[in-house]
């Protein structure tokens, strides 16, 4: 590996069953990653986010992952990623 792969503990099939992602709506803007990192650290980064969005630059298709650090923003009414999603791709199923 030539480049640090800073988060490898992805859950491809999210344990966070309560979060629903509509990948056809997702625009790949990563606003959820920014909101998530802010929630955890009060700073902006992609490496501290518990949600990870991959956009294919060839056709725009989206893949997404959650890391084990996601706790659905335990003390908040709505998880930060759901609240910020401008494309309304992320939904809470409760």
């Amino acid at each position: 590996m030539e480049i640090d792969n800073y988060k490898m503990d992805y859950n491809k099939k999210p344990e966070q069953e309560l979060l629903d992602m509509n990948t056809s709506r997702c625009t790949g803007c990563k606003s959820c990653e920014i909101a998530c990192s802010y929630h955890h650290t009060k700073k902006y980064s992609l490496s501290n986010s518990s949600i990870k969005i991959f956009r294919s630059n060839s056709n725009g298709e989206i893949e997404y992952f959650f890391t084990k650090s996601c706790n659905l923003c335990k003390n908040e009414q709505i998880p930060a990623c759901v609240e910020v999603c401008y494309a309304h791709a992320l939904c809470l199923k409760r």
Binding site: I3, D4, C29, Y44, N57, G60, Y86
Partner: protein, 660 residues
């Protein structure tokens, strides 16, 4: 693959040397000297404090480090990639990357700006700006991974197109989560029409910057970063961002852009240049290229740049017929003008195919379409024949020939070798009457609608510090119904801001917009969420965002003074390197002599006397000399730009007390 240079930055003394890093910034400039194989970092605070970031800092560094007589493709030229204080934060549409370099087309100043996801990643890697200088002894590409910076031989990617390059790098590095910018064959072959592509579909287009990168033997830059950016007032900044997003959601412009990017504006009366600007109205054919002709059957995905709610960048795929299987991201009106009406081709599939080919070859569609329009018209007028064009018949509407010419330009093949010089130079090479048909300003190809009609739009292009293009001072307010005289007066101090054909107030409007745009470019934001696209983010919003992220109080007036300084640095660089003056702020005679032939603005053209008056008014607002268009001692003193004054005085291009 062999790494021939690597630096692990272990000790960082920059905070001691360069003062405290302002919040919101990464704090460092990364410098790569390709000739000497030297990688170093320095503090960015002193630059950012004066010129915000991005375009502004780039302009100041270019002015100080690249002597104006330096040829653009010389190793002494440098490329300054820059981000701003808002890049990579929760501020709306904060994913823009600026590039400043010596212009390979106009031979003066060049800045370019692109979206995507590269700029935030560069900042997360720890750098506000990246400066590339010199020339690598062999084709190379750069990998930036936080503090580890590597230069690698580009054997496996040199010669490949932009898409193949990105895929190969990701596969070689066993990672897909990387941000990559690269050049295609266009840049490798030093085509003056070459651009740099980010994420396969976003272009740093102006100034032949792809050729500049190619001349440095640099094929690609790969970046990955895991650091963080912090606001001075984290919760205050977050609230300001949320307020900004709400404002955008309430805007009329947002609705348009979300529908299909700028192509949603194409309606039957939308001015489109036809057949190399022989007319400015395409009539009924406009209906064949309106947004719904693209969304169905071609749109497969709505996409967005970093932290943007506009999603104006759509993916289009062609399911069948001639171009089956082609995919392209981000068609905007530039492509419809350049490859549609300009060549008289009303087939959306072709427009997608031509845009896609340019993206893959790394060619700038504005310069390409301008040169194609010129070549087709020269063929029509008999100036060029099949003997000149490698046997190709350049008849209006011929899709196959247009695509073949684009390919030839990318590879500088036969006739394409002349076209690759850009429209102004190519017309000089061909000579005779052909120069009459070269639609260029300051040697830069024109791909614009409404030059004869919208006077402020035209003035913004004519006075653009990067040679041309509407993304310097052209306002997007003319003809917008919601810009009433009251709103025009309140926002810009210009009640006629929404009026289409009048000259009145338009100089003041351009002076306002060019400062506004320089600020947006330097903060790292996208102008699509601003007043420019009739959205509601105004100068006070940017001032508030800047204050909350950096902790440094600022107001609209102070931001605009910085904007004015940036524009004056760019202007001075043009004056020093090419000597551009008042005569260079005129469009080709066609726009003055040939009125619009049909449509709602039939008969409209640029009136020479009125244009002269408009220029005089513009220079007066700027504090420049009205006769030469050059800067005055008084203006530069007022802005505190002593160094510019000295340099201009040395070459006799500073106007002192009205003495010319």
């Amino acid at each position: 693959m062999q790494i021939f240079l690597q630096l692990k930055i272990v000790f960082e003394f920059f905070e001691l040397k360069g003062g405290k890093i302002m919040k919101g910034y990464a704090g460092k400039i990364l410098r790569i000297d390709l000739s000497r194989g030297k990688i170093s970092t320095s503090p960015s605070a002193s630059f950012n404090g004066k010129y915000l970031g991005g375009r502004g800092v780039g302009a100041w560094i270019l002015f100080n480090e690249v002597p104006p007589e330096t040829p653009a493709l010389d190793p002494k030229n440098i490329m300054i990639f820059g981000t701003g204080p808002l890049t990579g934060t929760s501020a709306p549409s904060s994913g823009r990357l600026s590039l400043v370099t010596k212009n390979a087309v106009s031979k003066g100043f060049a800045y370019s700006n692109a979206g995507g996801h590269f700029a935030p990643e560069l900042k997360y890697a720890g750098y506000d700006h990246l400066i590339i200088s010199g020339k690598s002894p062999f084709p190379a590409y750069l990998i930036i991974n936080n503090d580890t910076v590597k230069l690698k031989k580009a054997d496996s990617i040199w010669g490949k197109d932009v898409w193949e390059t990105e895929d190969t790098i990701k596969s070689n590095l066993l990672q897909s989560d990387l941000q990559i910018l690269s050049i295609g064959p266009g840049g490798e072959n030093l085509s003056k029409c070459a651009c740099i592509m980010i994420n396969k579909g976003r272009a740093l287009g102006f100034g032949g910057c792809g050729a500049v990168m190619g001349s440095k033997n640099l094929k690609a830059i790969v970046v990955k970063g895991s650091k963080s950016i912090e606001a001075a007032d984290p919760s205050g900044f977050m609230q300001e961002c949320q307020k900004s997003f709400r404002k955008i959601d309430m805007s009329i412009g947002a609705n348009f852009l979300r529908q299909g990017g700028t192509i949603a504006k194409v309606n039957p009366s939308f001015p489109l240049p036809t057949r190399n600007y022989q007319d400015a109205n395409w009539g009924e054919k406009n209906l064949k290229v309106e947004e719904k002709k693209f969304s169905s059957p071609f749109e497969i995905k709505r996409s967005a740049c970093f932290n943007c709610s506009m999603r104006c960048s759509h993916f289009y795929s062609i399911p069948n017929d001639t171009y089956a299987g082609l995919v392209c991201e981000g068609i905007q009106t530039n492509a419809i003008r350049g490859f549609g009406s300009n060549l008289d081709i009303d087939d959306p599939a072709f427009i997608i195919a031509a845009n896609s080919l340019c993206n893959k070859l790394g060619l700038h569609i504005d310069e390409i379409s301008s040169i194609l329009g010129w070549a087709f018209e020269c063929f029509e007028k008999g100036i060029l024949t099949c003997q000149d064009t490698d046997g190709l018949e350049l008849n209006w509407g011929n899709q196959k020939v247009a695509l073949e010419l684009i390919r030839k330009i990318g590879y500088r093949e036969s006739f394409g070798n002349i076209l690759a010089e850009g429209v102004a130079k190519a017309s000089q090479i061909i000579g005779s009457d052909s120069q009459k048909y070269a639609m260029s300003i300051k040697n830069t190809g024109i791909n614009e609608g409404g030059i004869r009609i919208k006077k402020a739009w035209a003035l913004g292009i004519a006075t653009s510090t990067r040679g041309g293009g509407h993304l310097c001072g052209s306002p997007n307010s003319e003809g917008v119904k919601s810009i009433t005289p009251e709103i025009g007066k309140k926002r810009y101090g210009v009640p006629t801001a929404g009026n289409v054909i009048t000259y009145e107030g338009k100089a003041k409007l351009v002076v306002w917009f060019e400062k506004y745009k320089a600020v947006i470019d330097s903060l790292g934001m996208c102008c699509f969420t601003s007043y420019w696209q009739n959205n509601l983010l105004g100068p006070n919003d940017y001032a508030n965002l800047f204050y909350k992220i950096t902790g440094k109080p600022i107001d609209k007036d102070k931001l605009f003074i910085i904007g004015e300084k940036i524009l004056n640095i760019e202007k001075a660089y043009n004056t020093l390197s090419v000597g551009f003056s008042r005569k260079d702020d005129f469009f080709p005679d066609r726009f003055i002599e040939e009125p619009v032939k049909q449509g709602p603005y039939k008969g409209e053209r640029l009136d020479k006397e009125s244009w002269n008056n408009l220029l005089t008014e513009y220079y007066s607002y700027k504090g420049w000399d009205t006769q030469t268009g050059w800067q005055t001692e008084e203006c530069l003193e007022k802005l505190g730009l002593e160094k510019l004054k000295k340099e201009l005085e040395k070459v006799g291009r500073l106007i002192i007390n009205g003495n010319r």
